[in-house]
């Protein structure tokens, strides 16, 4: 009796696994095809009946992608912008997150609602006035202008995410330290901060990825000669549409470091995003 049930369960497990394998193949195919095309000889990429398996490994496409347009300049600019945004966002955001998660004060709820609401304003809706504002301030085509602009979405995100991490640190720990003679600041630095550090790292990395991936503002607020990495790839797509193999090489160079970073912090972020969600 029990062996029969076991066999049935095993059989259904096999069915689920087959379905799961199908999901794995379908979901992973775009990624696989990007890498496959990036490393295959350019002539094999232009084949109306392409081989699904790798046909040989070459780095020519990467060389070609780097030749077509300056790659490292845009990457450098993207790095500068993303790092600056993350640093400013973390410092300012941490203070604000502390205020709304550790203090009870009048107007707290309004601030929380405001920060949530600000996150919901679509970026595209803001591009016209932001463009005019930077134009007036003489910050068009400047990296500082782009950095300021990116704070519109990085800052609310940082505040909200850090708040999520902070509320998960028991207040009692801080209070115990204060009873033992720590000042409020001392209690924060010695007790909360070490516990918060992993969350801060995850939030920074995630914010960095968001800034790195942004396309519209970078496209609109910087001229061609100051373009960032995403715009570089976007232009590649629009201007060299026929050279797919180098384009996939460019896409690979853009994606691999970001995906690697993302894999590192994802678990932590998913936990932060959903913490408490079920309790509601």
């Amino acid at each position: 009796m029990s062996t029969l049930a076991g066999a049935g369960r095993r059989k259904s497990r096999l069915g689920w696994n087959l379905l799961g394998l199908l999901v794995f193949v379908v979901a992973g195919f775009p990624l696989y095809w990007m890498l496959n095309t990036a490393f295959k000889p350019a002539k094999d990429a232009i084949d109306s009946d392409p081989s699904l398996l790798p046909t040989g490994i070459t780095f020519d496409n990467f060389g070609r992608a780097l030749d077509i347009a300056d790659f490292w300049g845009p990457v450098g600019r993207s790095l500068v912008v993303s790092l600056a945004v993350v640093v400013i966002g973390m410092v300012v955001g941490l203070l604000a997150a502390l205020a709304i998660s550790r203090f009870a004060f009048r107007g707290r709820k309004i601030v929380i609602v405001g920060i949530l609401a600000v996150q919901m304003v679509p970026l595209v809706a803001m591009i016209i006035p932001v463009f005019l504002l930077l134009n007036d301030l003489g910050q068009y085509d400047r990296l500082t202008g782009l950095i300021i602009t990116y704070l519109t979405f990085i800052l609310p995100f940082t505040v909200w995410t850090l708040r999520g991490f902070i509320v998960n640190i028991p207040k009692e720990l801080e209070e115990a330290a204060m009873v033992d003679g720590c000042s409020r600041t001392g209690a924060f630095l010695r007790v909360v901060f070490p516990l918060l550090a992993p969350g801060m790292v995850a939030t920074s990395v995630y914010g960095f990825i968001q800034a790195w991936n942004e396309y519209l503002y970078a496209l609109m607020l910087l001229s061609q000669k100051n373009q960032t990495a995403t715009v570089w790839l976007g232009n590649f797509t629009t201007k060299h549409g026929t050279e797919y193999a180098p384009m996939m090489a460019g896409a690979t160079m853009m994606a691999v470091p970001i995906v690697a970073l993302f894999l590192l912090v994802q678990r932590k972020m998913a936990a932060g995003l959903t913490a408490g969600a079920v309790k509601g």
Binding site: D49, I112, P122, L263, G276, V278
Partner: protein, 329 residues
């Protein structure tokens, strides 16, 4: 700005409402957590200041802009911007093309959200039933595709669906009696938007699956068993136990998806080489097109503002859910 010589603090709202002056007196505090009344506002000040500058001002400008006449000559300062009342809105709302764009955007977003949520739920349930090693493999693929920059994903999909050398057409042509090589998916709006929808769904499903999987681990096993003992089948357990427990997460994910999918921009923009054809325009690209291609910044702003207003209801539901979650903590 002409107001450069006036005092700057006037432009930003005061960072604090000036409640009673900071306590120098050592009166016993009832609530330790409340701290000094000014401390939280001091901590918040830099954040609020920056947000006022980078969000508050542009938002206000968006509203005023949509009530002005603002084109190329106003941008260069040849002509002052004059207020024209509701003219821009009248023009936008009276335009048949605008309504076609709204309808297209809503259909696109609805399709994308429904497919994302249904596929996401199905995959989350599937992940509970597959072997451990496979679960790990699928998770890695999901996280990797979630982390892919949108521009990269768009580029890759463009290549997958290329008319002559795209692997999708090649695979379809392997089916008996199907000859798809050379088929241009972007020759017609609906077909092209279906491809773009697929791209959006592919990018959005991982977040839904991973969030729902986390939620599923919180569904009490006892409840499921009790339901089963009471004679519920798999569907019954799902419908009457799993779904209600997951409801807050589902509401959050659905509202977020609606907001994101109503706001697609780079996918359409890059897929159509920076110049979406009329039958590919969605609200955001349409607003962009009015502002930066036709150079009518005022009309573009009016369209953007209408988009924000359209989303307001969804945003309200999302925020209520988030605040509910916040209160529990």
């Amino acid at each position: 700005m002409s107001a450069a010589d006036t005092t700057t603090p006037a432009k930003v709202p005061p960072p604090r409402q000036a409640p009673p002056p900071p306590p120098k007196d050592r009166r016993p505090r009832g609530q330790r957590t409340s701290g000094g009344a000014s401390a939280p506002w001091l901590l918040l000040a830099p954040c609020l200041l920056i947000l006022a500058l980078v969000m508050g001002y542009p938002l206000a400008r968006l509203v005023t802009l949509s009530f002005q006449k603002f084109g190329q000559s106003q941008l260069w300062g040849f002509q002052p911007a004059e207020t024209v009342g509701f003219d821009n809105f009248a023009k936008v709302l009276g335009d048949g093309e605008f309504w076609a764009v709204v309808l297209r955007t809503v259909v696109f977003a609805a399709g994308a959200v429904v497919f994302t949520m249904v596929i996401g739920m199905a995959l989350a349930l599937l992940l509970q039933r597959v072997s451990g090693w496979l679960k790990m493999l699928i998770n890695i693929v999901l996280v990797a595709s979630w982390g892919m920059p949108v521009i990269v994903a768009t580029t890759v999909f463009k290549w997958l669906f290329d008319s002559d050398y795209g692997v999708f057409n090649a695979l379809l042509s392997k089916l008996p009696g199907v000859e798809m090589i050379g088929h241009n998916w972007f020759a017609s709006g609906p077909e092209g938007l279906a491809v773009i929808m697929l791209l959006v769904i592919w990018g959005a499903v991982p977040f839904v699956v991973i969030t729902l999987s986390a939620g599923l681990t919180q569904v009490p096993k006892e409840l499921e068993e009790a339901a089963r003992l009471d004679g519920a089948g798999s569907w019954g357990v799902f419908r009457y136990v799993t779904l209600p427990v997951l409801k807050p997460i589902i509401v959050m994910l659905t509202t977020l998806s609606v907001i994101w999918d109503m706001g697609v921009f780079p996918q359409v923009f890059v897929m159509r080489n920076g110049h979406p054809e009329p039958e590919f325009q969605v609200l955001n690209t349409y607003s962009y097109d009015r502002a930066f291609v036709v150079n009518d910044y005022a009309q573009g702003s009016a369209i953007a503002l209408i988009t924000v207003l359209l989303l307001l209801g969804v945003v309200a539901v999302y925020m209520r859910q988030m605040l509910k979650i916040g209160e529990v903590e």
